[in-house]
Amino acid sequence: MQRTYEIMFIVRPDILDEDLDKLIAGLEGNITQGGGSIKSMEKLGRRKLAYMVKKFNDGNYVLLTIHADGSLVGEIERRLRVSEPVIKFISVRMDEEEKRVAKIKAIRATRKKLSAQPAAPAPAPAPVEPAAAPAATEAASA
């Protein structure tokens, strides 16, 4: 079963840019070969670590959002664990959270409509638009 996962990993800071790109490309190849798909790849850049990891104080953060099976995620985790430049990683399942957020948004939208209708039936289309606009901004911020 395909689910959405977020895999964030930290690459050691003394790696060259080409090597980092190569590493990411290799990982993406693994994901696509294993039957998954990549939704987005984001290099968050160099950041100071909150604590020392393998004697490094900064690291290159990379964020991968993928659509994959649980077994494939296990395989990716194994690869991250054995690949030497990767010093830390985390994989988080996102689909349930997304579903929950979508549900909340749907409930909020219906509630706004209900409150708008009995008060004033005529300007009903107007309140719908402001209701949609905050939802869009929330999506952007989230």
Partner: protein
């Protein structure tokens, strides 16, 4: 709990009492104070009412990546600030705690800040 529901005249006296033992280590910690910030405004109306930041600002997903947001709910030493100080509702505190723990795992937040 008595502090939360205290009578209008009480907050000025109960506030230092309540915050005294809680912030014995990091005195008047800013992260705890900021979400309780509306309390300062509330005192103007003679009632301190804490509100859940996530409910008010309609932040649905508490994500481990937005360190800026999570940092407001972490004390100086890296502790998760309790709900009774920040006013966050139960549902959101649960999500918040999870996000903070995930952020700690990926070194975005410290487990314990060093001095």
């Amino acid at each position: 709990m008595a502090d939360e529901t205290s009578t209008p005249s009480a907050p000025s006296t109960s506030r230092p009492e309540g915050s005294g033992p809680a912030s014995s280590g990091p005195g008047g910690r800013p992260p705890g104070g900021r979400p309780g910030g509306p309390g300062g405004g509330g005192r103007k109306f003679f009632r301190r009412k804490k509100v859940c930041k996530f409910c008010v600002e309609k932040i649905d997903a508490i994500h481990y990546r937005d360190v800026r947001l999570l940092q407001q709910f972490v004390a100086e030493r890296g502790k998760i600030v309790p709900r009774r100080l920040t006013g966050v509702c139960t549902t959101h505190q649960r999500g918040l705690a999870r996000a903070i723990k995930q952020a700690r795992n990926i070194a975005l937040l410290p487990f314990a800040a060093r001095y």
